[in-house]
Amino acid sequence: MTRMNAMPVREQETHILLVEDDPADARLIEIYLEESGFGDWSIDRAQSIQEALDQLSEQDYAIVLLDLTLPDGTGPENIRRIKAEFPDQNVVVLTGFDERVFGLEAVQQGAQDFLVKGDYDENSLAKTLRFSIERQNFIRRLEETQKIARIGSWEFHPDTGRLLLSDQVLALTKPDDSEVKDGLPSVELNHLLRRIHRIALSGREVNLDTRIKISGNGERYFHVQCQLTRASNNEEVVQGILQDVTDRYQTEEMRKARDLARKSTEIREQFIASISHEMRTPMNAIMGLSNVILTSDGVKGEQKQMVQAIRDASDILLGIVNDILDFSSIQAGKIQFREDPFSLRSVCRNLEQILATKVSDKGLFWKMHIDDQVPDQLIGDKLRMSQILFNLLGNAIKFTESGQVALYIELIERDRQRVRLTFRIEDTGIGIPEEAQMSIFEDFNRVKYQNKTYEGTGLGLAITRQLVELQQGRIWLESQVGIGTTFFVDLGFTVESAYKNGHIIPDATLTSEGAFRGTILVVEDHKMNQLVARKTLERQWPDIHILMAEHGQIALDLLERHHVDLVLMDLQMPVMDGYQATSLIRRHPLPRIRQVPVLAMTANAYVSQDTQLHEKGFTDFVLKPFEPEQLFARILQYAPIKSISI
């Protein structure tokens, strides 16, 4: 082996492997290259095919200049041997004048071009080498692109039966590396190709989606296109591409399945709601008429007991129908909470009366205590509140054979407009084993105790939890088997005096004066508003820490990673809007996130449309364009007391 350098080796130089046993021919190449101004180059020389293969296994070469008449090989066999071991190698063939037919054949075997000895000069040599390098680079880039797009290509020559598959076709259809190297299509692919070649040869274009089984790797989906063309020598060639579209196909299939599932769920829910509703009317008739019979004088003794049994059974059945109706409304997201004024004590007294018979029938003690600090006149959904308490107290009575059932209501938080109350429902019943406490609020969970399953749908507590959480409340329990159970419910209400004409009215006594040292998360996509919000807050409270999110999704991520005292939430944003983000905040498993105050930032024009902001989980709103004094006052009003020092 000899190395001849035209100039000192630099990074950009072209490494050439000249496979030529004739020293005169080899020297001629060097002279031409020197005279052509080909650029920086270096030549290594090999005098046989075997020597060339050894060289190629040790070093990369931009070009192999291959003589077709060598001591250990002659004609196109030389290129076949090189290509068999180095299929991507750029090769330009040198042929004698009488062997130009070999040159053409070598190109068909994968050579980039051929030069006829005695028929080329320095310019044509340089031009051929440059073009071959460019072509090789282009092919590499094309292959890379095909790899990224998961596209493979092939050619079929019907005259000779020759099938040329790109590496990518083999990689996509035969992912096992050892199989790829044999260069042959899999049985599945071969079968497919035979089928589509028949179609293409009849002159029709093939354009189809199909799936191919891949051994050990399931099946994959491909888009296949091919058509009949003619090569430059007028030979018929079928050219085709196949693209792996499995991911797209699966996504589409999943979307279809999801849509179908959603549609089925909707239909099922509509059906359940409709049937349940239709059942409720006759059930009410049965119950009402049973009561009429029971209060009439003519019914006595065994008959009375039987009618009593009909009424009790109807009562249970109606409870189940109501549970199913509520559950399907919640599942369909159709439940609405009212914001009406009510007297808390009056609602509790009614509840007491309804439950009195059940309590006395079981010989239980009843206790109810509402803390004096709890305001009586509240705004909220009194029916849903009653339902929550009725479910929990009903359960308490059901599972208590002796002792006491009690309801306590305490104030845990209060500002000028809102109160937060804890409802404590205590019993001295059978208790709930620790392992069952985790799943007690799940749908269709029915309590089993001492191998006895208690009546009901198993939906009562699931509905109760949903009713609490949809009102941004919290429910949990403490229980000991054989001692009893206490359920806790935290719920927020607006104090009636803070409401006027369905709007929250700003409290004139609210002040914007006070120091704030907490963290505010501003969720706003508008750059100028972001800057203004930051500067305005920082001017007012230099110690404030501000987090900025461009949309709801980022806000949720930030809330999980940082302790945030208050969120200022824009409503219309890309990716995830303020409504969706706030809804997710209110359903978050972490209490510190679920309970964070969220102030909607809304334009004047939309305030009237956003009176339902409370129902959507917002604590309150601030107007846009910003009114700094109102903004500061709202933050001080709702941010937790611990971070404010006046």
Partner: protein, 116 residues
Amino acid sequence: MKSEEAEINLEYLDTMSGGDVDMRNTLLDMLIEELPRELSILLEAVQMGDVEAIFQASHSMKSTLTYTGHTESIVLNEQIEAASRQGIWGTNERASFNNLQIKIHRLMGALIKLPR
């Protein structure tokens, strides 16, 4: 033709700057950068006939226009926003948009001339 310069009202921008000259200039620079960008997004949405995108673009532009205090542009944009919010995009809205384009074009000329 009225001078757009005279129609600009930077009271809100000044309030929000809180007397900070750098902040004021930053907001003015942002206005000059954001307005054409948002207008081109709105234009694209209009050309595509995508009413939801029109609403998003005009909603975003509303905040930006607030800083100019340029009542006519604000009102035109509000008309576009209110209609597209309800899924409406008809002749009146197209006329409002054409008008808004002209207004913003002139407004930009006036904003650039403002002293710093």
